[in-house]
């Protein structure tokens, strides 16, 4: 579903991502962990087509991000770490806006909005303008907007930040549901317990370089993910 091959991104002299390769198959929830500044957001942004990279290739469902960025974006959705939504729209207007961009029919969007907004208990707040939302509400809205066009791949940067426990559980279920339907999830997180329980595969990145990746069992063995991560990062 998502193939990252030898991805390199530099900012001036500094290599933010260095020759990174990750392969995510359909049906997989793939966790991406690393210290602050390790290169997670840079990688996710490059995969979302909003950041130019220096070397390597990114393909989504066989479509190259460099050759056909629009074709790639049609197949995926991206939720940034801080949901920057249009404050001047109501929640409903924002979802309609996203649905129009992706060409989602009125019937389909209505069904999706009802399903997810009621699950997140956001339905009664949708008519309110986004500037009145809390961080968690914005995050919920960003999640609904990502799910609205049934993407094959969803990439999320720290998706659980700001969510209440109920919403976090719901998001985990939604992630699993997408994968059960043949989609894939690629997300970064600092919450290692969540990654350990939720992910099929995990990649650990340090100073832009991949230091370990594979199935959860391959990466952590008999230890906890936290212990392995801290050991690899040299903090233990």
């Amino acid at each position: 579903m998502l193939n990252i091959e030898n991805l390199t991104k530099t900012y001036g002299e500094k290599k933010a991502v260095d020759n990174l390769s990750i392969h995510i198959a359909p049906g997989e929830i793939y966790g991406f962990i690393g210290h602050n500044g390790a290169g997670k957001t840079t990688t996710l942004k490059a995969c979302a087509g909003i950041l130019q990279f220096n070397k390597g290739t990114i393909t989504i469902d066989g479509v190259s991000m460099k050759d056909d960025p629009i074709g790639c974006k049609k197949k995926m959705a991206y939720i940034p770490d801080n949901p920057e939504l249009y404050d001047y729209m109501t929640g409903l207007q924002y979802l309609d806006f996203v649905a129009d961009i992706y060409g989602v029919s009125i019937e389909e969007r209505k069904a999706k909005i009802h399903k997810y907004a009621s699950a997140f208990e956001l339905e009664k707040d949708l008519p309110a303008v986004i500037s009145s939302y809390s961080h968690g509400m914005k995050q919920k809205l960003a999640i609904i907007s990502a799910w609205i066009h049934s993407p094959k791949l969803i990439m999320m940067d720290e998706p659980f930040v700001g969510l209440d426990p109920k919403a976090a559980k719901l998001l985990k279920d939604m992630m699993r549901e997408i994968c059960d339907e043949g989609g894939a999830i690629f997300f970064s997180t600092h919450v290692l317990e969540v990654a350990e329980k939720l992910c099929d595969k995990v990649a650990i990145i340090k100073k832009g370089q991949l230091i370990r990746s594979g199935t959860m069992e391959e990466v952590k063995g008999d230890d906890s993910l936290e212990d392995v991560f801290l050991e690899l990062e040299g903090d233990k």
Binding site: K45, A48, G49, I50, L51, Q52, P69, I70, G71, C72, K73, K74, A77, Y78, P80, N82, E84, L85, Y86, D87, Y88, M89, T90, L92, Q93, D96, F97, A99, D100, I101, Y102, G103, V104, S105, I106, K110, P127, A128, V129, S131, S132
Partner: protein, 549 residues
């Protein structure tokens, strides 16, 4: 503590020169360009003030008894410019500053916080006032050296500062009023703020026109002057003080200090209360469901429209010219007969040396399309909706970048939106002005075509400038609106381009080109340049937008 807060305030105010996107230091060349642009803008305002002062001086310096009116009118002009220039800054920096919550959480007394905020506002008003008033002083020394006295110079300096307190008083009241409105209104907040601003501006202009008429009437009745001036007292006192009257100077200065004290006292009482209420105002809600799927283009234009309507400052900053244009058109239409009489009178007055009044009248009428072109260029160039539109995306730009759409579609929606707003104002205004000024059908058509092309040009030019110099790292939308280099660029081009073309015609082409042909050539020129900019936007510009951060 006040020193640290002041330092922060001024860093914010001048960050545009020294800090670029991501807070990194601006390259020397870019900083220099900013400084050159702002200097040009300052020179423009100073130039207009100087011309205005010379015009007034020629009228009022003839009789020493009427010289006070020169300074009175100068003070009124300075207050007008300063209020228009800084009223929204007052509202934003006092009540909408993003760091208000942070600063309130620190152990800082609110009077100190208010003092620092007010200092920034005062400084802005003082700067605007100085741009107008200082040329008035210089013109006075040059044109009427006989009226200069040592005491007059002292009071000019004192009232230069005193008038800034009056400006602060007025902007603080308006800013407070806007803040109160914003706190209590939901859906119609933007509309009410705009109407308040326009009503205030119209009322103020009406008062000025009445005042000038009143002053002229008083000059015809010397007894009225000696008996006092009632409603004209502040302008009279200011004028007399600048000529060296200690009584008027002291009264004016004391009143201005009293006004400052009053505003500071009232704001100290209400400042915390307003900040601690929800300054976003009532949440706007809408239950309206979309019942039809929209095309990508339509949905992008709708997004621009929603953004535009959400911010009164955006509307006023980028569309005030379009509000004035219909007024100019209607005035021309209503005063059609008076204009024709005025043209005829000018022709008769200007006749002589073998030139007949008919020939001069024909020449004036032939030049009228150039006058309309100048008005559209001037007002259109200062009202470019696309000029801040990339900067206004801010950090939310990634929402668009992640969508499966070509960024040239996004850019095109911005240009289209600019034209959709501007053309319905510009075209009827130009037609009305054309008819009012007595232009022939062909001339009206040419001026309409040129105006439409110019509006399109400003749309693409503003967008290209903003793409070249975006400011995404703002903490308040109004910083992007007020301090974007693209906005300054468009204003300069809007003001200078028509001026250069008009001067070129008068000094070079007038003898061998008909005005209508000249305007057609300009239209082709603007069209060509617009097409070239559009090509850049569709290719390199779109790519730049895709990866802006």
């Amino acid at each position: 503590m006040i020193k640290a807060l002041l330092k922060k305030q001024f860093l914010e105010l001048f960050s545009v020169f020294f800090r670029g996107k991501n807070g990194k230091r601006v390259a020397g060349g870019k900083a220099a360009l900013y400084i050159v642009l702002y200097t040009l803008l300052i020179l423009m305002v100073v130039g207009y003030s100087t011309m205005f002062a010379i015009g007034l001086g020629a009228t009022y310096f003839v009789n020493p008894d009427t010289a006070w009116a020169y300074f009175g009118m100068g003070a009124i002009a300075a207050v007008t410019i300063a209020i228009v220039g800084s009223v929204f800054m007052t509202y934003n920096s006092l009540y909408l500053a993003k760091d208000n919550e942070f600063l309130l959480s620190l152990p800082i007394q609110s009077w100190k916080l208010l003092f620092v905020r007010l200092f920034g506002v005062w400084f802005a008003g003082f700067a605007w006032e100085s741009l107008v008033l200082l040329p008035f002083f210089v013109v006075f020394y040059a044109m009427a050296p006989g009226l200069v006295t040592a005491l007059g110079v002292v009071f000019q300096i004192l009232l230069w500062i005193g008038l800034s307190f009056v400006i602060l008083f007025m902007t603080a009241i308006l800013g407070w009023l806007i803040a109160k409105v914003a706190t209590h209104l939901g859906r119609y907040k933007t509309l009410v703020i705009i109407l308040l601003f326009l009503a205030g501006f119209a009322g103020y202009m009406f008062l000025i026109s009445q005042l000038e008429g009143g002053i002229m009437a008083l000059f015809n009745d010397p007894e009225a002057i000696s008996e006092g001036l009632g409603g004209f007292m502040p302008a009279y006192a200011f004028g007399k003080a600048c000529l060296g009257s200690p009584l008027h100077g002291i009264i004016f200065f004391l009143i201005s200090v009293a006004l400052f004290t009053l505003v500071y006292w009232v704001l100290t009482i209400t400042f915390n209360k307003i900040l601690m209420t929800n300054n976003k105002g009532k949440a706007i809600t809408s239950n309206k469901r979309q019942d039809k799927q929209k095309s990508v283009n339509a949905t992008l234009i709708k997004r621009e429209f929603k953004h535009y309507l959400s911010n009164a400052m955006y509307i006023l900053n980028s569309s005030l010219g379009y509000i004035f244009l219909p007024i100019v058109g209607i005035l021309a239409l209503v005063n059609h007969d008076a204009i024709q009489v005025a043209i005829h009178t000018m022709a008769v007055d200007g006749a002589g040396d073998g030139v007949s009044p008919e020939a001069i009248e024909a020449m004036i009428k032939a030049l009228l399309p150039i006058v309309i072109f100048f008005a559209v260029g001037f007002l259109g160039g200062t009202s470019v909706i696309t000029a801040p539109s990339v900067s206004l995306e801010g950090k939310k730009i990634s929402v668009l970048q992640a969508f499966p759409i070509h960024m040239k579609q996004v850019l095109w929606s911005k240009i289209e939106f600019h034209c959709l707003i501007a053309l319905p104002f510009v075209i009827p205004s130009v037609i009305m002005a054309g008819i009012g000024l007595g232009l022939g059908v062909l001339d009206v058509i040419i001026v309409v075509i040129l105006s439409a092309i110019m509006i399109f040009f400003f749309g693409v030019f503003g967008l290209a400038c903003n793409l070249k110099y975006p400011m995404l790292n703002w903490t308040n939308e109004n910083v992007a609106l007020k301090q974007s280099m693209s906005v300054i660029f468009c204003m300069l081009v809007g003001v200078l381009a028509p001026l250069v073309f008009a001067l070129l015609y008068f000094f070079v082409f007038m003898n061998f080109l008909m005005p209508s042909i000249y305007l057609l050539i300009i239209a082709v020129l603007f069209g060509l340049v617009s097409w070239m900019i559009l090509r850049w936007l569709n290719t390199k510009g779109a790519k730049k937008f895709q990866y802006l951060s």
